[in-house]
């Protein structure tokens, strides 16, 4: 096999650099979150996350090895596999914290809702790749994509994984907008969505409803979800300007934070590094996004641009929802901080996504 030398010279080191910087900061924070805690997750997590980084790098290489333009052929098989996996998870899935999300593959546990996000991206890029109509897409032009995405959203919703279901919907919406959905159609869609909220409410588990009600009225459940948000805000707030210092966060150490190494890892980081640290971290995410947006704008074809944008939108919604949740601006829905939170399936599929971005980026010149 001959490798085009231009591909190597055009390799996007910047994207890789952002990725590694975030993952390594994440590992450091996971270490802190598990430091000196007498609970049973006895400090193996940072090492495991590093192992996952290795897996992520392999997956990333795989994602950029084949020219992305061939990927529209695998969109349907990949989608089909995701539906099957999400369906399986309901029956043979492993439970954790009251919901079934994992499939045990022996050597590791796969959480299919993570790659499912990429399935939506691939599917929509395929749908929207041809030149858009002069006045943009109407809903009826895209009805098939609704039919395809709906099962993914419903299957994650019943697990129940409200966070992922929301992310899937937001990524779907973002890609339609980017692809050129008419504004009128978009408003119509949002309106319909709001009208369906009562039905969605019916599907939520009692504790999920509780969380949303708690957000609207924090006094409702001061001992449960409300308590977590309060503790998370205390952790973030007590970081003040410069933070309490690495490994010196008391809130985190004393186990007051729920899911301190996954969904609430940002609170651990905020407490220890203060506003300055947060500014750097959030700034890093921000620059990453601006850079990727530019990549979207410079892609040679619509399919590549939409593919890169889709990955970017997964990334964007995760960061925004997670930070908003931890700082008490949003209800607590379980959404990890991408590249940063502990979690193998999430890290690997996010790095696969970034591999796709690099793929698009480095083949800008090969026409």
């Amino acid at each position: 096999m001959q490798i085009d030398r231009r591909l190597i010279s055009h390799f996007d080191w910047t994207l890789l650099g952002f990725t590694l910087a975030l993952v390594l900061m994440g590992v450091g924070t996971i270490y802190s979150a598990n430091y000196n805690i007498v609970e049973n997750h006895a400090g193996g997590l940072p090492t495991r996350q590093l192992a996952w980084l290795g897996v992520g790098l392999v997956v990333m290489t795989a994602a950029l090895a084949v020219d992305y333009r061939y990927l529209d052929r695998v969109a349907y098989p990949f989608y089909g596999a995701m539906v099957v996996l999400l369906f399986l998870v309901l029956f043979i899935g492993h439970s954790g914290g009251g919901s079934q999300r994992w499939i045990n593959l022996g050597f590791f546990r796969l959480q299919p809702s993570e790659p499912a996000k990429l399935a939506v991206v691939l599917l929509m890029a395929k749908y929207l790749q041809s030149d858009e109509p002069p006045r943009g897409y109407r809903l009826r032009d895209l009805w098939a994509s609704f039919v395809l995405v709906a099962p993914l959203v419903l299957l994650t919703l019943v697990q129940p994984d409200l966070g992922t279901a929301i992310i899937l919907s937001l990524v779907f919406l973002s890609m339609m907008l980017m692809g050129g959905l008419r504004l009128k159609s978009f408003l119509c869609l949002v309106g319909t969505g709001l009208a369906f909220l009562p039905i969605a409410w019916h599907f939520l588990k009692p504790y999920q409803r509780q969380r949303i009600l708690t957000f609207l009225d924090p006094d409702r459940d001061p001992l449960g979800a409300g308590y977590h948000v309060i503790q998370s805000k205390i952790a973030v707030g007590s970081g003040r300007l410069f933070g309490t210092g690495y490994l010196h966060g008391t809130q985190n150490r004393l186990d007051f934070l729920p899911a301190q190494h996954t969904d609430f890892i940002f609170a651990v980081f905020s407490e220890e590094w203060g506003f300055v640290g947060c500014f750097v971290l959030v700034g890093l995410y921000f620059l990453f996004m601006l850079y990727s947006l530019r990549l979207v704008g410079r892609a040679k074809d619509r399919f590549g641009a939409l593919l890169a944008f889709g990955v970017l939108s997964i990334f964007f919604w995760h960061v925004v929802i997670n930070v908003a949740m931890v700082t008490g601006m949003m209800p607590v829905v379980g959404v990890p901080l991408p590249l940063f939170s502990y979690g193998g399936s999430a890290l690997a599929s996010m790095m696969f996504g970034i591999g796709l971005m690099i793929n698009v980026s480095m083949r800008r010149f090969t026409f």
Binding site: G226, T250, L254, E271, F275, R294, V296, G297, R298
Partner: protein
Amino acid sequence: MTVLTGLSKQDGAPELRRRVRLLYRVVAAIFLLLTFRLGFLQIVDGERYTFLSENNRIRIKRIPGTRGMVFDRRGQLLVDSRPSFDLIFVPEDTHSPEATLRTLAGYLKRDERELLAVFEENKGRAAFDDIVLGRDVDWPTVVAVETHQLELPGVTLRVRPRRSYANGPVAAHVLGYLGEIGPRQLKALKDRGYALGDEIGQYGLEKTWEEVLRGQSGGQQVEVDALGRRVRVLHEVADVPGYTVHLTLDREMQETAYEALSGKEGTIVVLDVHSGAVLAMVSSPAFDPNIFARGVKADEWRELVKDRLRPLNNRAIQGQYPPGSTFKVIMAIAALEEGAIQPEATIFDPGFYSVGNRAFRDWKKGGHGSVDLHKAIVQSCDVYFYQTGQKLGIDRIAKHARAFGLGEKTGIELDDEKTGLVPDSEWKRKRYRQPWYPGETPSIAIGQGYLTVTPLQLANMMAAVANGGTLYRPYIVRRVESIDGATVREYGPEKIRAIALKPGTLQRVRNALRDVVQGPGGTGGAARSNVVALAGKTGTAQVVEMKGAYLKSEQLAYFNRDHAWFIAYAPADDPQIAIAVLVEHGGHGGEAAAPLARKVAEKYVEIQGRLQGQQQVRADGEQRAN
């Protein structure tokens, strides 16, 4: 910045380029918002949050809901929750835990080494976690801690409702017990509001009716000072007490049955024949559920689990025994229903019955002579039923046994009920890949062989015989009541099936069952009472096959002795209750089990008499008032 945002006209599609430029601003705006929020929390409000985080000033104190009470069918208290005090120590709240514990030991007149040892054991845990120094402490301890509170930072008393079982072990297997929630249970039940250290029903009704009995935890979000003393309550959620449960059990009947079994291993079940309501269910030996309420000690638990007599087993529903001759009730019904015998026709019993080259013995040396159905039941003639069994064949026997609920769970609302086993040719083929051999049927016909039943199944079968052929699901909970006395749920008789029987079949069998107790030569004569007429059937279940001569059970090693059965209903001509008595290793049913059934039936009549008397008094009073 152009590295990040610069787009030239050569790049990509124009409309996408336009949207990307717009998105730069949208993303920037949202990130600005997030940064503002962080700045607000960390800089503007930072001081307040730092203040709150020091000493973790916000704590949650959970208050578990008081568990519901349990009453018997006549409103007598069986289970209650009383307040008790736990002595708690929070090391983080004192500057010198050792010094504080020494002071405490002085006030309590306890050995300080003992308290320090408890503290040492718990050293690995988070400093703000409670250490329990004593459960259910006595009143002087409470007073001492309260009066010297200022000198004892970190020492607190926690009020905890504690389960109290009024009759100790008498109804232990039915009521069950509580235990601290295990890690696996906790994982599964987290969303239902359970927390580490909570108690949860682990056995019996406490377990199966957990949802109803438990109530809801409340709690307080409390701000505490540096010494852990509460400054103020930020939020409070009231706890909700559990529902009160009224049982079908009769406390006096239960006590009588318990006493009757004392010193023996076995079980007694009493059912209302017209509803399936359980009036008494005793399994012996029992245990005292109160020891679980105060926190069972490791050696106590080990003793209970290792005991060869298995006190934690509810023999009434979990014991599977061969029914012995009590199965002849089913045999008689099957034979009459299938027309396999003429009830008046007699056979001659020489004391054995041959199938092929094998001889089946009768329990009576020399045999019963000339025997018809009535005599066969009354004297429990084995040879008569060997022959009847051969005529019926295993599959027809199994059909009738199953109609009366044998071989399947009765569906009582207690955990881990066993099914017993009613074998037939299909079962044999599946289980052993062999056909049913005719030589196996005689054993089944006298209730031995593969056949096993639970005592509850036999009681329920007897109830169906007594009430004319209706099989009910046995039940224990009659009514669930909220704390203000309103009925939340009510339970009544639930038919499993009406057994289709020819007219006269049951009458014939019941006449014989009456003579088992009342007639001359009946095997159940020991149940004869001048207070109430019982009808019943004795049974002796072989534990080991006796190859040798006719041994008396006293001649056998204890664990090889036969189980003694007596199943009955009373009164014989107007049946109200069905009774199953099993005495493990008790020898012959007529001797060991029948007298216990008599005691229980007499108690029933006595209670009914008293109740009617009271009603009479009340009615008379009303009459006078009118």
